[in-house]
């Protein structure tokens, strides 16, 4: 169906006709046609340069040998070497000396903050003050000592983690596993309340002291002062990980506790772990209380 020439515009029509209405067959503007041809040209060039056409068992790999995975691996490597340079100061055998270097805190604390918030704050809180089940890092109460190299070691291997050298500490389930009888447990609860300076039943606490000496002091030390050797917390202060009231202590004695700190040596490199170690110490040194 060939269209006729429209007499007013001197343009051919498409030849279609709807109740006397006809359509001009105006060509697509040259700019659009050029853009289309350019796009086709670019696509054809990409086919040659980059991986493109599949065939049964493989695909054309392109002249540039481009691989998105190789590209990202290279970009990540570049980023790492930049960070290695920027944080080279943290790769030193002497952690104490590093901690006392002037200006290091001012320079690096904000950067380490990002690392902390990504990896640590979920449990220990953005302010490092911990939350239920997860210890406060700013106070002076430690399970495995607050020495820098001990903090660093905890970060590396974790506590009760799946790292082969993990620190290990488990409070047995004295109630559930029937190590102690029910009345013995309630007596020990009263004793723990007494040594932590809380309201308690005097005679029960007296009985509890004996049971404590036989069953608990091995890890928690005489009088419940705690000990770094077994990662057992002090029971004579006012800091608690799982709560320090009668109900919480009873739950701990009944069901035991074995808090887990993941090992970070596989997710973070040595410098990053060292940075976080200092970050924890800095936050602790700000805490004026205890």
């Amino acid at each position: 169906m060939k269209g006729r020439l429209d007499k007013y515009t001197n343009t051919p029509t498409t030849g279609h006709e709807w109740d006397g209405i006809e359509e001009l067959d105006t060509p697509v503007p040259w700019g659009f046609r050029l853009a289309l041809k350019l796009a086709i040209l670019i696509a054809a060039t990409q086919w040659v340069l980059y991986p493109a056409w599949p065939y049964v068992v493989s695909y054309t790999s392109g002249m540039t040998g481009y691989s998105s995975r190789a590209a990202v691996a290279a970009a990540v490597k570049d980023g790492r070497s930049l960070r290695d340079q920027a944080f080279a100061v943290f790769v030193t055998p002497d952690l104490e000396e590093l901690a006392s270097k002037p200006g290091i805190r001012e320079k690096f604390e904000p950067v380490i903050g990002a690392l902390y918030r990504d990896n640590c704050s979920a449990c220990h809180g953005r302010d490092l003050k911990g939350q239920a089940n997860f210890p406060n890092l700013t106070d002076d109460h430690w399970l495995w000592s607050g020495e820098l190299d001990e903090i660093e070691y905890t970060l590396q291997v974790g506590i009760n983690s799946n790292h082969e050298d993990t620190r290990y500490a488990e409070m047995p389930a004295f109630g559930r596993d029937e190590i102690l009888l029910k009345p013995e447990i309630t007596d020990v609860v009263e004793y723990v309340l007494s040594i932590s300076g809380q309201e308690h039943d005097l005679s029960a606490a007296d009985r509890g002291a004996e049971i404590f000496a036989e069953n608990c002091s091995g890890c928690h030390n005489d009088g419940g002062a705690g000990g770094y050797a077994f990662g057992a917390p002090s029971l004579i202060d006012s800091e608690w990980i799982y709560g320090g009231d009668r109900k919480a202590i009873l739950a701990t004695l009944n069901n035991g506790r074995a808090g887990i700190m993941p090992a970070w040596s596989e997710r973070l490199n040595a410098a990053e772990i060292r940075m976080l170690t200092l970050y924890v110490q800095w936050a602790g040194s700000d805490d004026q209380g205890d």
Binding site: V56, S58, R69, A132, N162
Partner: protein, 243 residues
Amino acid sequence: MSAKHQKLERHGVAFATMILIVASLGGLFEIAPLFTIENTIEEVEGMRPYTPLELAGRDIYVREGCYACHSQMIRTLRSDVDRYGHFSLAAESMYGHPHQWGSKRTGPDLARIGGKYTDVWQVAHLENPRGVVPGSVMPGYAFLANTRLGTTHLAGALRALRRAGVPYTDIQIEYAERHAIWQADKEAEYEDSLVDAYGTNVNVRDFDGDPQRLTEMDALVAYLQVLGTLANLDDLVLEDIAR
């Protein structure tokens, strides 16, 4: 307009057929070859099918629509790799039917969340997200800890997945229900049976903090804790997986 095209336009069936052929070209070139191209799925040590408990957790993950806000796909971008770890491999989701790659991140990517946080944290966070992450917009899933995990369907689920190509063995299918119960058993008396069936890389413990009951929380946390931990990425050679 060519005369041939005009003829085609006037034959409904012929025209519809031509549209179908043209529209399927995209799939023909972009999807179909993936089934025959040899390096679509990388060869990686360590990948195994999900244990029945992990699978039950995965079903809960899908049921609750976690994929709507969490992706499981670390893209080949430096920002992704820096934040979440090694980019995801096709092999890591080869036993996922359907895969949970996702395309939306209201929450963070979960492809390598396994082991990053403890079970206690995962449970606390699922029960009350804002309790541990101030400002989080994630809904709470406290009911999971109070919902007993249904296990009777697991053997059937494994059988169905075997039909879809997941290499579950007869033993794994036969023991599906027991394996699910044993994996969340703190006393771990049957650990050997799980290890025999699924290898040493199986977390056997009570996941939800309530050793008395097997709950949906056990299953979901078991699933989360295995994400991204199976493939042995240390032995990968970039040249082998470069695409």
